[in-house]
């Protein structure tokens, strides 16, 4: 497996595709940091001053997407780009039957490919984070504290799993469709559906279920139902997780009645408490990636490999 892993990794890093991705991510990263650096002074007044670095990731300045949201949007594309031709590409080039007639277990090919993709994602994501840290220190003038570093690390890991899901999905599609283009378009279509249409559908469905949100309770329930439905989409899960992890002040997800929030202390949550809050989201995200990969795994192990 390690042979496949290193070859795939080398392929990724030397591919033009990877260079383009890296350029896009780094450029937008720098831009977003620069922009949020401009507005950080105003935002810092609402956040406790000890979490300035997290603000770099979450502050939306001048209608610009925050870096965290932006990565959440771009991450799936990275996953899809790295995975959509994993199997279908080998198939199209006629290399698959040659490689599988070597004395290796079939799963080592698919495992090696998946892990190489994941490692590439990790390198990309980590480089963005390091960039943020580096630029952040020069912008803010002091280094981040331990709490912030931990939260950023969790953010990175969540991000890698999130992209891992899309990688596994693209891998599955590359197995189901023997044509590379079909696999790419299929993954992109599903991405569009889950990221853009699912929240809309969730809202419509919630409005349908609670037809008349006249009382505050009904309104809260409507929002809750919409949230629940939109959690089908991994993007929603990622969004919620990141929102809690990067904002220590967040104490819950979804809407809350004024009575419920009354008397709540505006102190930041401890890291462990924040983690506890998003544990369901986090585990679901990992489970989704695992299920996707498992399906491809089973499918691939039983497939007939024809030249």
């Amino acid at each position: 497996m390690s042979v496949v892993f290193w070859k795939e990794l080398a392929d990724h890093f030397s591919s033009r595709r990877f260079m383009i991705l890296l350029a896009i991510i780094v450029l937008t990263g720098v831009w977003a940091i620069y922009a949020s650096g401009q507005s950080i002074r105003q935002d810092a007044e609402s956040a406790p001053p000890e979490f300035v670095f997290l603000l770099l990731l979450t502050s939306q300045s001048g209608g610009l997407l925050s870096l965290a949201t932006f990565l959440g949007l771009l991450g799936p594309l990275v996953g899809i780009m790295l995975g959509f031709d994993a199997i279908s590409g080998e198939y199209a080039r006629g290399t698959l039957s040659r490689v599988l007639s070597q004395p290796i277990y079939r799963d080592s090919l698919i495992n090696g490919k998946f892990l190489a993709g994941l490692a590439t994602v990790a390198v990309l994501w980590a480089s963005v984070l390091l960039l943020v840290l580096g630029l952040g220190v020069t912008l803010v003038g002091f280094p981040p504290n331990a709490e912030e570093l931990w939260r950023m690390l969790v953010f990175t890991i969540v991000g890698i799993f999130y992209v891992g899901f899309w990688l596994a999905l693209a891998l599955l599609f590359s197995l189901l469709f023997q044509r590379t283009v079909t696999a790419a378009l299929g993954s992109l279509a599903l991405w569009l559906f889950l990221t853009i249409f699912t929240p809309l559908i969730a809202q419509i469905a919630a409005a349908f279920i609670i037809a008349d949100p006249s009382t505050p309770e009904a309104m809260v329930r409507q929002v809750d139902i919409a949230n629940m439905i939109s959690r089908i989409s991994p993007s929603a899960l990622y969004g919620e997780t990141v929102q809690v992890m990067l904002n220590p002040l967040a104490r819950g997800l979804g809407a809350a009645l004024p009575e419920q929030t009354q008397g709540i202390l505006l102190t930041p949550l401890a890291l462990s408490q924040s983690l506890l809050l998003v544990l369901p989201q986090l585990t679901t995200l990992i489970a989704l990636a695992a299920v996707c990969f498992a399906i491809s795994y089973i499918k691939f192990m039983r497939a007939e490999i024809r030249a």
Partner: protein, 310 residues
């Protein structure tokens, strides 16, 4: 001598279609076996089963003493397989492609490098080994494929249509290479093809598969006598001049079973050697002989006959 490849009532079904039907095949050590049949006859399916790349519906195969369905890795360690239209990683050089395959076979880098250089020399790509495969011609790719199956130093080679899409010269070079390798290393070779003329001379034995069934197996000339048991003497007789009445006299010659007119003469199927009689007949009639040729049952005849029956 022992069988390197052996199948026992090997059968493969795709839904209603029986792709390979009750196949019994045996390839002896050190021989070149031609697995012949038209497109879609089940050659590739059989080969995939031999390598454990697909599972048989019933029956058994044994390759190098192992069952490919249950122990595919043992088979793949010992058998070099060249698929139809082999593909390579276009961005890598020929040498890098071979190196990857060597690493997948767990050959240490220090051992693989000199071996690959030697193989590239042997197949005539010594100077092109470091060029990217995308620049290779079809014939070069096919030769690279031959080098690739040899990287693991196999006991047997399974080659699926190794001459497909090559010009006659390129095809001849590949076949020469295979023959030489088989002789030099004592390799057992099973090669599938639908091109009879190309492989006829080089195969020790052939098996003919049509619609999933193996309809004949054996040496080329044995196959001939098996089919044309009673009329294995076929002649082409051509004469110049006005051969009035010659045909009826030819028909009267004892031993001539069948007679069919050709442009300048006749094609005769006989059950014995009637050449002396034919010659005296021609000279008696005062005709000049253009040619009298004995036509053997070539593989082509065999092939055509089986195809007509199939």
């Amino acid at each position: 001598m022992s069988a390197v490849v052996e199948t026992l009532s090997l059968t493969k079904r795709y839904r209603d279609l029986v792709a390979v039907n009750d196949l019994n095949l045996s390839v002896e050590e050190g021989e070149i076996f031609g697995f012949l049949g038209p497109n879609g006859a089940g050659k590739t399916t059989t080969i995939l089963m031999l390598l454990g790349l697909t599972e048989p519906a019933s029956g058994q195969a044994k390759v190098c003493g192992f069952d490919p369905t249950h122990r595919p890795l043992e088979v793949k360690k010992r058998v070099g397989y060249l698929p139809e239209n082999p593909g390579f990683y276009d961005d890598l050089s020929g040498r890098e492609n071979l190196f990857y395959i060597a690493r997948l076979n767990r050959i240490p880098a220090a051992e693989a490098r000199p071996r690959i250089t030697r193989l590239l020399e042997q197949i005539g790509l010594g100077d092109d080994g470091d060029r990217a495969v995308r620049e290779y011609s079809r014939g070069m790719k096919q030769r690279l494929g031959i080098a690739e199956v040899l990287v693991k130093e196999p006991q047997a080679l399974i080659l699926d249509e190794p001459t497909l899409g090559l010009d006659p010269d390129g095809a001849a070079r590949i076949l020469e290479l295979i023959t030489g390798l088989s002789r030099e290393r004592g390799l057992t070779v099973l090669l599938s093809s639908h091109m009879l003329h190309q492989v006829q001379q080089m195969c020790h034995r052939v098996g003919i598969i049509v619609k999933g069934k193996l309809i004949a197996q054996g040496e080329v000339n044995q196959l001939g006598s098996a089919i044309f048991k009673e009329r294995q003497w076929n002649f082409l007789l051509e004469v110049a001049g006005q051969p009035n009445g010659l045909e009826s006299e030819l028909r009267a010659v004892q031993g001539v079973a069948e007679i069919a007119p050709r442009t300048h003469g006749w094609f005769l199927r006989c059950n014995r050697d009637v050449r002396p009689e034919l010659l005296s007949l021609v000279s008696k009639k005062g005709l000049s002989l253009l040619q009298l040729r004995s036509e053997d049952a070539t593989l082509e005849d065999i092939y055509l006959k089986y195809f007509r029956e199939a």
